[in-house]
Structures are given as structure tokens and as C-alpha cells.
Symmetry: C2
Subunit: 374 residues, 2 copies
């Protein structure tokens, strides 16, 4: 596999309200996510990483498409879609909600925003979850509209995120609690601002509900943050693996239950909440998963890109597979995520990983890399 | 927009059983299609094009994922999914089947293969149609399995396709009729071979039902076709626009009805076939669409890549938009596809197109470019 193939663009791979600014800023690579462009690197993966961990970045994450569910049966529908108990959810809350099919297989791991009792946004990972939700709504003849609104998230991430955001949206942003959102004024309208984002460095996601505001918002953030060394950024492969942030399609697929992904705490299948997949997950919850995602340190030189999963072996027997791996400058090892059988998932278990360039030794970690000191 | 951004790869952007051969053959660009790699160019777009129209090419179209529907309610489900009347469909037939939501909006435009009375494959365009089908099956509690089998199409396209195929699969391939498939022997097993493909040059699609056979099949085709100048290829942007082959996500989206896409002949909504979207499409069918896709010749130098739709204007008023456009060496003009209002869709209507590099004159065509002599 060539490391840097060229991406041919077309209307089918959609650009975002921020793409022109991203291009002007010298983006060096993209991936495709929900049929849209998602930047992957601006300077180098490592310099983007160091900057993210020390300063503040603005990320074009418009590819986190929103699905709006509204109407009389809105709560009934969203509760059908996830095993997480939504009964205590209030407007202004963000919930991380695994969504599964009838067998308990992961379909997506979105963030649910409750706008009102009868109105929700579902901020999705990389799969056309809209099709599933429309199919369920149609099949159960629910009184709901299920639409993809013109809403484009822009993330502000890094330790200086709060300082930058307060200069654009006012001091009130400091009061937004983790996984809560509130409408904040911008250019004569209001944008929902959440304290959330796909990094462990802290920050916000701004739900830009009018594409025309994309460039003015981008420009305001960069003008306000010049002395903070604000830079364009994107979800960083190194930082997210260190932090144990899972990527749908990479670390989990329809093959996996939430429990295998370490998301069992979001599954309240013992309660009578009536979600799709409840029966299958109840079985898993009572027995426990027989494999689960773990952080893994892989020895040796920096690993190549993990495109197909790498087998994890113990005494020549296959006990799991690595799905994401990259060299970490801070931890001076290859940090990785992989699904490992219960026989070998205990912390400090020594295993072998069959990387494309040869066998390597590796060690199962306790928790995530970012939970321990560098 | 940079013309050649780099694509960052990961497990989420899946490689195919043919990717190693495609890489070894020097692929120059990819797009992402159904979360998989789809090659876009090998030599140059134009030399690939001339070769496709005169010789034979082997295409990695494994991204045409298969959805298998099987079980007692299989026919009931597939008929719910499309407005096309499936009552006359026999095993061995391929049907092009627009699939729509309850409002008649296009969700995908797959090819349906009938394997048996209770078993179908749906060979999909670029959207997670599996999610829609699983949602409908679940909502209606149908007795079906809906799965994504390990089947990877490889296309053989071009005027010499039949000669090449007969050397690998025997003379019987010449008897396969257009949009029919039949199991053909290969390496001790049988692969379904259809006379179909995303070009107007004739050819076949081989449904490789075992990933391990991918490379042996690729190698056999190249060994057998050396004197035919067989080359690796891929759907060619120039040839497909000349031929009026629509691309889901480019030329049509959920916003469009089949009738707007010129697919009204595949909609039998006057019959009581009970498909999703029937009510909405019946309305459209009785009134006719007010806009429709047309081939358009755009004057001037070769156009840039069409990423966002380009407005079509007449007397300063917006009457449509171009969704795909490219320079055609054979027709010595820019060939394009666009959605145009009925007031301006008549052949030979002169319009203006607002391309990124300025206004251009353009002419609405009668039929497709490939229907007239070069």
C-alpha cells in the first residue's frame, strides 16, 4: 500500500463551509468521513500533536454530520436507538450514545444533543446512520421528522481553548460544563456551543447552523488567538490513541458489541427502556464480553500505518488484533488500540504483534496511555 | 481546492482483495466509495479513456458492496425497497433498481441480482444502504437475514472484454445476455459472472465470493490478455459522462426523485406493488418532474473539477446546476451532466454555466453524448 495516494475529488466527496480556509492554511492530507473531507495533517503529525497538547487549534469537523429528530415521538425514537438510559437527560445535555442493531452490533457511536423535549441532534461518526434511523422511524410509523440539517461543527481544542473561546463568545463560555451545550451569540444569531471534542486536551465544539457563518467564525477565532499561537488542526492520530478515543470503522465495527468496546457503562439493558438490540445486549451484559479493546504498547521502531488489522499472538495462537497504531513521541513507544481475548487482556500481559514489517513484542496496558505520566 | 490532496489511509478506508495488484500496477489516484478504496486513474484520465474505448481493462470495483437478503420474506422486502416491479424477475437476472425513502428521495441506485426465489444480492452505489434495509426489515419484523457477504466485484470492461473473458471462463461467457448473470467455474469453485458494468463499452462483472481468489483471478486475466493489451482501469470520468451514466452522490442525492434522474421508466407506481415512497412517486409520476438530468456541452477550454455544483443560468435566472463535468477528447468539448428546469431542458437550449473560473456558454443535449457519432 502506498503511504500517500492522491485523493480524487468530486461533488460526492463534499467540501465543508471551512474547506477554503483549510486549504489556504496549507492542509497536507485528508481522509473521507461521512462522504466529506476531514483534514488529517497540517504541518506534520508530530508537530500538530505537540501543538495540540500545548496550545489551541481550530478543527474543521463538519463531517460530524447532524441528524435532527423532532416531533411527538422524538424521545421514543432516540431511546429505541440506544441502550443508554435517556430518562434523566435534560435539554442542554450531550450524551455519548452507542447505537446498535438488533444483534447488539455497533452501527455508530454518536453524541446526542437534547435541544428540547421533542427535538434532538445526533452528531455522528462515520456511517450513514440517517438511513438506519429513517428505516426504524418508517417501520414503526413514528410521528417524527428525521432530517440532516445544515449544521457544521467546528472544534476548538487544546489547553488554551477556553481562553480563545472566551475572546470570541464572552466569559460565559467558561461556565459551560463538560458535555453540556448552550446557545452563544455570534454575528446576530446564536450557535450551540458544547464543551466536547475528539481530544483529551479540553475544548469546545461550535455547531455552526448556517454555512455562511463558517468563514467569519474561522476568521474571528484566528484573529482573536494570534498571541495564543492558534493554528488549524484536526483529530490527531497520536493524541487520540494515547487518550484511548475509539474511532468507528477503525477500532470497532458492526462485528462488535458496546461491551467489547469498553462501552458497557453506557448500556442500561437491565432497565425496561425498550431499545433495539436490548435482548442481545442483556445476554452480553450478564456474561460479559470475551474480548475487549485495550491500549497496547508495541515495541521497536515506529510502526507503519495500520490499514488492515494486525494479528495479536500469544504462544503462536491468535488472541486478538490491533486496529490503530502509531509512534508516540511523548511515550517513546508505539501506542496502539486492539481487541484482545479475555485470556490475555490483563494489564502487563506480554503478547506478540504481527506487523507488516515483522513480528514485534508488545504489552497490554492498564487503562489508556494518557492516564499515566509521560 | 487543491487538485491533488493526499489521502490518509487507515483501517476505516478499507482496501480490497485486489489492492495489492492495483498498487503494483501503479495506481495514481483513489476516491473513497462505501468506505473502500476505488481507483480513479492509472496512466492519465485521457489515456485510460482511449484505452477503455479500444481495448479491455480490469477494474477493482470491490467497493460495489453486496447486501444479501435471504429468507421467507426476501422478495417482500426487496419489493418494498424499490418502485420497480419485480414480479417478472427470474433467477439469473440483474435489475437496475432505484431505491427511495418515503418521500421518493433517492437513497441509492443499486443493481439487484436474483440468486433464488428467497435470495438476492444488492450491489450498491455509495451510501450505507445496509442500514436502511436493516431498519426496514426490523421495523416490519420481516423473516429475513440482511448481511454483507464477502463478495468483491471485479469488472472487465471494453470492446475486447468478451475475448478476454472467454479465455479465462470459456466460450460460454459469450452467451451471457446483458444484465444476466450465471455461475462460471474458476479454481474449483463457481463465481457469478454478469454482463454489466459502469461503462458503455460492454463487459462483465465477476462477483468474487472469496477474497483469496482475488489475486489469482487478477493474475489469470492479465496473463490471458497480454496480446489484447489488457490494462488495469477504473470507472472513467470522461467515458461515464459521455455515456450519461449517473453517479449517486454526484449527479443525484436524497433531494432527487427517480423521475428527476430520468429513471421514471424503472418506477411502476401505478401498480399495487407496495413499495416505500409509492405515494410520493405516484404524485410525481402523474404530474411529471419539473426538473431533470440532461447532458450538457459546456463551451471553452477544459473545465476544472466540479466539486460543488455549478449554477446553470438563463437570462441571469437560475435554471439548474451542473454536477459532473470534464473535457472530452473525442467530442472536443466539455461534457457534463446537470439538473435543469423544464423551462430550459429542451435539446439545443442555450444556457450559461457559472464555473469556478468564470461564466461559460453551454448547450443542452438530446440524449447522451455517446448516442451520437463523434
Amino acid at each position: 500500500m502506498a503511504q500517500s495516494p492522491v485523493l480524487s475529488i468530486s461533488r460526492r466527496i463534499r467540501s465543508t463551509p471551512f474547506t477554503r480556509r483549510v486549504e489556504a492554511a496549507g492542509v497536507k492530507g485528508y481522509t473521507v468521513y461521512n462522504h466529506m473531507l476531514l483534514p488529517t495533517v497540517f504541518d506534520t503529525l508530530e508537530s500538530d500533536y505537540h501543538h495540540l497538547k500545548s496550545k489551541v487549534q481550530v478543527w474543521d469537523v463538519a463531517c460530524e454530520r447532524q441528524i435532527e429528530v423532532r416531533g411527538r415521538d422524538a424521545l421514543r425514537l432516540v431511546q429505541m436507538l440506544t441502550p443508554r438510559d435517556l430518562r434523566g437527560m435534560n435539554p442542554g445535555a450531550c450524551y455519548y450514545v452507542p447505537m446498535v442493531d438488533e444483534t447488539g452490533g455497533m452501527l455508530n457511536d454518536p453524541v446526542l444533543l437534547k435541544l428540547a423535549e421533542d427535538r434532538y441532534w445526533i452528531s455522528i461518526a462515520d456511517s450513514d446512520l440517517l438511513y438506519w434511523i429513517k428505516g426504524i422511524a418508517y417501520g414503526f410509523r413514528l410521528e417524527v421528522d428525521v432530517v440532516e440539517p445544515d449544521v457544521h461543527p467546528l472544534a476548538v481544542q487544546g489547553p488554551l481553548a477556553e481562553d480563545l473561546m472566551s475572546r470570541v463568545f464572552g466569559e460565559a463560555v467558561r461556565d459551560i460544563k463538560f458535555f453540556r451545550f448552550t446557545p452563544m451569540p455570534f454575528e446576530g444569531t446564536y450557535l450551540n456551543v458544547a464543551r466536547s471534542g475528539y481530544s483529551k486536551q479540553g475544548g469546545f465544539e461550535i455547531y455552526v447552523s448556517d454555512a455562511a457563518l463558517g468563514e467569519p467564525l474561522w476568521d474571528r477565532l484566528f484573529a482573536a488567538g494570534e498571541d495564543l499561537d492558534v493554528r488549524p488542526g484536526c483529530p490527531n492520530q497520536i493524541e487520540r490513541i494515547e487518550g484511548g478515543l475509539l474511532s468507528y470503522g477503525n477500532d470497532m465495527t458492526r462485528e462488535n458489541t458496546p461491551h467489547e468496546c469498553g462501552l458497557g457503562r453506557f448500556c442500561d439493558t437491565t432497565l425496561a427502556i425498550g431499545c433495539v438490540g436490548r435482548d442481545a445486549l442483556l445476554r452480553v451484559a450478564s456474561e460479559g464480553p470475551i474480548r475487549q479493546i485495550r491500549s497496547v504498547a508495541i515495541d521497536g521502531d515506529p510502526v507503519p500505518t495500520c490499514t488492515d488489522p494486525w494479528p495479536i499472538l500469544a504462544n503462536g495462537e491468535r488472541v486478538g488484533r490491533i486496529s490503530s497504531a502509531v509512534w508516540s513521541p511523548d511515550y517513546q513507544t508505539n501506542v496502539a488500540l486492539g481487541m484482545i481475548r479475555m485470556t490475555h487482556w490483563a494489564p502487563d500481559t506480554r503478547v506478540e504483534v504481527e506487523a507488516p514489517d515483522g513480528m514485534r513484542t508488545a504489552v497490554v496496558q492498564k487503562g489508556t496511555f494518557s492516564q499515566r505520566a509521560v
